[in-house]
């Protein structure tokens, strides 16, 4: 990563942490007064290096793990703040980063809800992975 790519990447995370839902070239550039062309080029490089994932044919963030830039149904809630997550793991991971709260995973009968308090997850449950770890990024959206 170039030094600017590192700055862009870190700013993406700041925006997600702050609760910004739509993170794209314009949002990132405006937040720091950066040139939109340079930000767009940086996002392209970051995506090529699998540091982030972009919505198809755009420079909108789809994933900056564990945060999602799109509504997947997976989400994490701490206090009054809700973050979109990419999967059940990421919904739990956001709580590991942001604090005690609830992780939601969509299910056929309604949301599954885990509560995290003082590092303890309840109720017991399982996260099922379809794709082996070595192939997560073959199609990160499917994973």
């Amino acid at each position: 990563m170039t030094p600017f790519d590192r700055q862009v990447r870190a700013q993406i995370y700041r925006l997600f942490v702050d609760g910004v839902r739509l993170v794209d070239t314009e949002t990132i550039a405006a937040s720091r007064g950066w040139d939109t062309g340079e930000v767009e080029n940086s996002l392209t490089r970051l995506a090529e290096e699998r540091r982030v994932s972009l919505v198809d044919d755009s420079h909108q963030l789809r994933m900056a793990h564990p945060f999602s830039g799109v509504d997947t149904g997976y989400r994490s809630v701490v206090g009054d703040t809700t973050w979109n997550a990419n999967c059940a793991w990421d919904a739990l991971a956001i709580l590991a980063l942001m604090g005690d709260g609830r992780a939601y995973a969509p299910g056929p009968g309604g949301d599954l809800v885990w509560t995290v308090e003082d590092g303890e997850v309840s109720p017991d449950g399982f996260v099922h992975f379809l794709v082996p770890a070595a192939r997560f990024w073959d199609d990160i959206g499917f994973t």
Binding site: Y13, V17, P132
Partner: protein
């Protein structure tokens, strides 16, 4: 499959420092070691 508790515990290690400008992605060996540390072993979790 893995328990939700395991994935939460792994997340603390997996995402440590992730949001920093200085973050470097872990090597496959280091990433696999994190999996192993949290009991995620076997072919499914191999990266090397």
């Amino acid at each position: 499959m893995a328990t939700a508790q395991t994935m939460f515990d792994l997340s603390g290690d997996w995402y440590e420092g992730r949001m920093s400008e200085d973050w470097e992605p872990p090597s496959p060996e280091a990433a696999e070691s994190m999996f192993t540390l949290h009991g995620l072993i076997g072919e499914f979790w191999k990266l090397t």
